[in-house]
């Protein structure tokens, strides 16, 4: 088990409204020269967080409030570009457990699920509300597959495949499941060499 089992997250949101935030922006290539997964949270969104001389900017990501946020809300098409898993490694090391957008790129989506980071594509009205209300305290319930907004108590559902949901809630990864299919894999190989 490589991450904490996931059920319900209640947290303020940190909002990055830009559209098409690519994985180069999440974690620039110069931080990919690592051979472990540790410590990438320090470099996540580094172009927003650090000046050229290495000093911290006043971006919310550097504030104590920001660092306490477990839920990232981002503009349309979050996580596009490179397949680097360093992006979800960095985001989870920073402290995020949920990322919400109106569209999330495929590879980033897959990489997130394997690291205990729940990607949520939410309907445009709820997305817009979240963008307009940074810092809102919201509830993400994976069991019920919904996001509850404060105030009007509106609740919005989201989709996740049954298998990924199971893996997230049990905190298991897929390798054990795949390894359990060793006989089927061996049989396939015999028929297809």
């Amino acid at each position: 088990m490589s991450f904490e089992p996931f059920t319900t997250i209640i947290s303020q949101t940190l909002v990055l409204p830009a559209t098409n935030i690519d994985t180069d922006q999440i974690i620039p290539a110069k931080f990919l020269s690592v051979t472990t997964k540790d410590g990438l949270g320090e470099h996540v969104f580094s172009n927003l967080r650090y000046n050229a001389d290495g000093s911290e900017t006043d971006h919310e990501l550097n504030s104590e409030t920001g660092k306490a946020c477990r839920i990232l809300v981002a503009g349309h098409n979050f996580g596009c570009g490179s397949s680097r898993e360093h992006a979800p490694w960095g985001l989870t090391d920073y402290g995020f457990r949920v990322v919400i957008s109106s569209e999330i790129a495929d590879i980033f989506w897959n990489n997130s699920l394997k690291n205990g980071l729940l990607p949520i594509i939410i309907e445009p009205a709820a997305h817009q509300w979240l963008l307009d209300n940074p810092g809102a305290k919201i509830t993400v319930d994976l069991t019920k597959q919904d996001v509850s907004l404060p105030g009007n108590h509106m609740t919005y559902g989201f989709n996740i495949d049954a298998f990924s949901k199971h893996c997230l809630m049990e905190g298991v990864d897929e390798l054990a499941y795949l390894a359990g299919q060793a006989d089927a894999i061996a049989a396939y190989e015999v028929g297809h060499e």
Partner: protein
């Protein structure tokens, strides 16, 4: 029998355990390409859990992302950091330990992983091919289902040769007609991405269909499929045909019973009447040489047009970053650097195209141009043809193979504020260095720009000769 698409046929041949309502399909992977950046944590993970590499014979490795493209006078290699060197050494140690064929410094096939696979004939029609790199879609040019994966999945494939996958939808991109003079495969794919949008392919496997792709070389088809991911698509493919077979014949990993293999491959082509989830139709005549003007590959226009009005805040933010103004022509903008290379445009055909423009000309004063071949073999072939001399005499730099300035991981980056015309695939903010502004273009456009020092329509250069 129901008419099926190329994607359907390749997918179905690789299902080990079918998809159900509660579980994804288990898909067998024929070829796993690995490189130094996205594999070290995967080896650590599987080793910690007591797994070995199930099929080292279906795995091929090289070093490309962190590798220097210069050599010191004493023969040593100037790594950008100790970390970069350690990453390369880790890859070499891991592959040695697990018996994986590795094209390291001594191999003439060392180079960009997506140039190496086809060059070795390892990339073949009907295969499933993965790599911890989003531009794995390149290999779809051969009629393979090829896509990028994350490091956790690299571990899955190392340990089990399989992946858990849900089947994507299919989209046909039909481009028919005749391309105008001066229009290249890079222009075709930039036009497609600007048409369907940078997220337009999300959730889809693309198939490029129509006369334009049938008439295209394998090099051009690879350029097109390479950028499928820039529209958000998982993969992009082209039906295998004689052009495909002629490319593979005689290469190291080409099948022994080649004619039998070809008959099998041709049966993979999409059946008449097969239904795609979405179809897009583009007229070849509508495509001109393209350049990007914003901060993602979907923000692309014909090089002879003016920069469009910003429709959204995001667009105006992109124009601010690029320091470009809507309503102004994009051609004529002063450029600081030109990069010719990357898995999109670093094959021999690309280098020839750039050299054709640069022959007998000089790189503009104050502009830096670097040419980085896709593989060491490509470098040797270019040198045999004298292309290196054309580049050097023009005042461009001729480097060792690698990813180089495409992502700037090895230290090949621009200076803050530089405007770079690049034959690579991503014009994201800061990708080629902090504050660097990137314009994506074809090798012809990049070479023409290197000569004039401003963004240049390559069609205007031809008439100057």
């Amino acid at each position: 029998m129901t008419a099926r698409t190329l994607f359907d046929k390749v997918w179905e041949r690789h299902v080990v355990v079918p998809e159900t309502a509660s579980n994804p399909a288990t898909l067998y992977i024929d070829l796993h390409l690995i490189h130094e950046v996205t594999s070290p944590q995967a080896f650590t993970d599987i080793e910690n859990r007591g797994f070995g590499v199930r099929r080292p014979d279906r795995t091929l490795a090289t070093i490309d992302h962190s590798t220097p493209t210069r050599i010191n006078p004493d023969g040593s290699r100037p790594y950008v950091t100790d970390h970069a060197e350690k990453q390369v050494e880790t890859l070499l140690a891991n592959t040695r330990e697990h018996g994986i064929e590795t094209h390291g410094w001594e191999s003439e096939h060392r180079g960009i992983v997506h140039v190496m696979g086809p060059e070795l004939g390892a990339t073949q029609p009907g295969m499933t091919i993965v790599c911890g790199d989003s531009h794995t879609s390149t290999h779809g040019a051969f009629g393979a289902v090829a896509f990028g994966i994350g490091t956790t999945q690299v571990g899955h494939v190392l340990a089990t040769q399989c992946l858990l996958m849900t089947k994507p939808k299919t989209m046909a991109i039909n481009v028919n007609g005749n391309l105008s003079e001066g229009v290249t495969p890079k222009d075709v794919i930039l036009h497609i991405i600007s048409s369907i949008g940078v997220g337009g392919g999300t959730g889809y496997a693309l198939e490029y269909r129509g006369s334009v792709f049938e008439d295209m070389s394998m090099s051009g088809r690879m350029t097109v499929c390479n950028m499928s991911i820039e529209a958000g698509a998982r993969c992009g493919m082209i039906g295998p045909d004689q052009t495909t077979f002629d490319f593979i014949r005689g290469r190291k990993f080409a099948p022994k019973n080649f004619d039998t293999a070809c008959r099998n491959w041709v049966s993979l082509r999409t059946d008449g009447g097969a239904v795609f989830d979405r179809e897009v139709h583009i007229r070849a005549e509508d495509i001109a040489p393209m350049v990007t003007y914003g901060t993602h590959p979907g923000m692309a226009i014909s090089v002879d047009r003016t920069i469009p009005k910003a429709g959204t805040d995001a667009d105006s933010g992109a124009l601010d970053y690029m320091r470009l103004e809507s309503g102004k022509p994009v051609a004529g903008t002063k450029v600081d650097r030109v990069f010719i290379g990357s898995c999109t445009n670093s094959r021999l055909e690309d280098l020839r195209a750039a050299a054709h423009v640069l022959r007998g000309r000089k790189v503009a004063g104050g502009l830096t141009a670097i040419v980085v071949p896709g593989s060491t073999l490509t470098k040797y072939q270019a040198e045999e043809e004298g292309l290196d001399r054309i580049f050097l005499e023009a005042g461009a730099e001729w480097r060792e193979a690698g990813c180089s300035m495409c992502l700037g991981m090895n230290g090949d980056i621009g200076s803050p504020g530089d405007l770079v015309v690049s034959t690579s695939n991503r014009n994201f903010m800061g990708r080629q260095g902090p504050g660097v502004r990137t314009i994506l273009a074809s090798p012809q456009t990049a070479a023409a720009t290197a000569v004039t020092g401003v963004i240049t329509d390559p069609r205007t250069m031809e008439t100057m000769v």
